[in-house]
């Protein structure tokens, strides 16, 4: 990834309430106190950065916006420095679609991602986790992001799409260019999109002569309500979405979970003693360390939790901040791994609920189960530094661990 230049710096933030910036290093490192400060100030705050952007700070305000596609469009879903003209209505359906085109595009993608479909994929994910662990089980120290969390979702989604798992590094590079560098550098984003389009076009062409039993062929064979096949641009857009949305999101969630467990021996020991608690713990880790922040664009003036919002602005739709709202979650700032009531919004709320939520949950459960089974003892390496990704998806990108007897 060394050939990709670093994005331009923003001026440092000194007034979070009136000038917030989700790409500021302080936010990247430790956003939780910032969100508390913003929430205490107002249910909706505003910044002039990013050509004007609001942020709802409470769970309720986030829910209001997520459920209101009349005033808030999904045509732009990343808050960036620039807001170029939208040239294609098929940019990444259904995540970039509004009603009424959203529903049919979404329904098309749902059947391959049901919990039952995920059960069929689970053995492959378990095998991927164990292949990765085999590669470092004898070592004393490692970067768990580089050697473990990073590889699980990308290989799983490659397996589903029917593309070589060995192309994983290519996909990870594109995602870094789109989700991180692309916030401030349009050319890098366009280059990644172009490369992805070329890659998937070749896979689509190959399947026109020789259909396969995978998600790419599934989309190529899909028909709309009038019985017509999807335009190639729709298939390409959805493939782009699956790859982008399915990789560093879950990679981040698995990484944050292991980071928490490395620092919290009581939780780790409890999950080893009671593995049946892992699914409940996964929900709590999703709440406390939700990776994904989405965006909307204000297309019609309205109010949110009593605050006026005006057109021409973006909205930073922070599900992670909503999930830390103490009005919604008692002890919101604590990780309670057996929390019984947990309506967290890590996968969004409303019509844009993450298509891959069942996949992500399965991957997180399996990744934690297999890790804890084989590596019960691990801790953060005091000689290393944990680094977090910037912007739309938050998770550890370097996760230095000591394993077993090295601790």
């Amino acid at each position: 990834m060394s050939d990709v230049s670093q994005p331009a710096a923003h001026p440092p933030v000194t007034d979070w309430v009136h000038d917030f910036d989700h790409t500021d290093p302080q936010w990247t490192e430790d956003p939780f106190p910032i969100w508390d400060e913003l929430r205490a100030a107002s249910p909706v705050v505003h910044t002039e950065r990013f050509l004007g952007c609001y942020m709802p700070t409470t769970y309720e305000a986030v829910r209001e916006i997520a459920n209101d596609s009349e005033h808030f469009s999904s045509r732009r879903i990343i808050v960036r420095d620039v807001r170029p003209e939208i040239t294609s209505r098929n940019s990444a359906p259904p995540i970039t679609s509004d009603p009424p085109v959203h529903k049919p595009a979404k329904q098309l993608l749902l059947p391959p991602f049901t919990p039952d479909a995920m059960k069929k994929l689970e053995p492959r994910v378990r095998a991927i986790c164990n292949e990765l662990i085999d590669g470092f089980i004898t070592e004393d120290r490692l970067d768990a992001a580089e050697r473990y969390t990073k590889h699980i979702p990308v290989r799983a989604i490659a397996h589903m799409l029917g593309i070589p798992e060995t192309d994983s590094d290519l996909f990870i590079r594109w995602i870094h260019m789109i989700l991180e560098l692309g916030i401030k550098d349009e050319n890098t984003l366009l280059q990644a999109v172009q490369e992805m389009t070329g890659y998937f076009s070749a896979h689509i062409e190959a399947r026109k002569n020789k259909p396969t039993d995978d998600l790419i062929s599934y989309l190529m064979n899909a028909r709309d309500k009038d019985g017509n096949p999807l335009e190639d641009s729709h298939v390409l857009g959805s493939l782009r979405l699956l790859l982008i949305a399915g990789i560093d999101t879950t990679w981040s969630a698995i990484g944050s979970s292991l980071w928490h467990l490395a620092r919290t021996p009581t939780d780790r020991e409890r999950l080893i003693a009671e593995p049946e608690l892992i699914p409940t713990a996964v929900e709590e880790l999703l709440r406390a360390y939700s990776p994904v922040t989405m965006a909307r664009e204000v297309v019609k003036e309205t109010t949110v939790s009593g605050c006026p919002v005006k057109t021409g602005n973006m909205v930073l739709l922070s599900f992670p901040a909503a999930n830390r709202d103490p009005k919604m979650f008692p002890d919101a700032d604590k990780v309670v791994i057996d929390r019984r009531e947990n309506r967290h919004a890590a996968f969004g709320l409303g019509i844009h609920r993450c298509v891959g939520s069942n996949l992500a949950r399965m991957e997180m459960q399996v990744a934690l189960e297999e890790w804890l089974k084989r590596i019960p003892d691990f801790a953060l390496d005091p000689a290393g530094t944990v680094t977090w990704s910037q912007g739309t998806v938050r998770g550890p990108r370097q996760l230095p661990f000591l394993l077993g007897k090295a601790m």
């Binding site: 059947p111 919990p115 929900e283 019984r340 309506r343 409303g350």
Partner: protein, 69 residues
């Protein structure tokens, strides 16, 4: 006499998070899109009351009603 419980999923609110199916598989079913509806007539068999309340309190869309009859 103890009250009988019945669960109901509002299909207009359900977005297919599938939390109810994970927490109370006996009480809910999913369709081909992964959206939930109550199993059968929604009546909660004795012993599963706790699961009914758990499903309700974990639905992010507030789509589940537990009705005491």
């Amino acid at each position: 006499m103890t009250e009988r419980l019945r669960v109901h999923v509002d299909p207009d609110k359900c977005q297919g998070h599938a939390r109810c199916k994970a927490l109370a598989p006996e009480l809910f079913e999913l369709d081909e899109y992964g959206n939930a509806h109550e199993a059968g007539d929604g009546i909660v068999p004795p012993g599963l009351e706790d699961k009914a309340w758990l499903a309700k309190s974990n639905c992010p869309e507030i789509a589940i009603d537990v009705i005491e009859e």
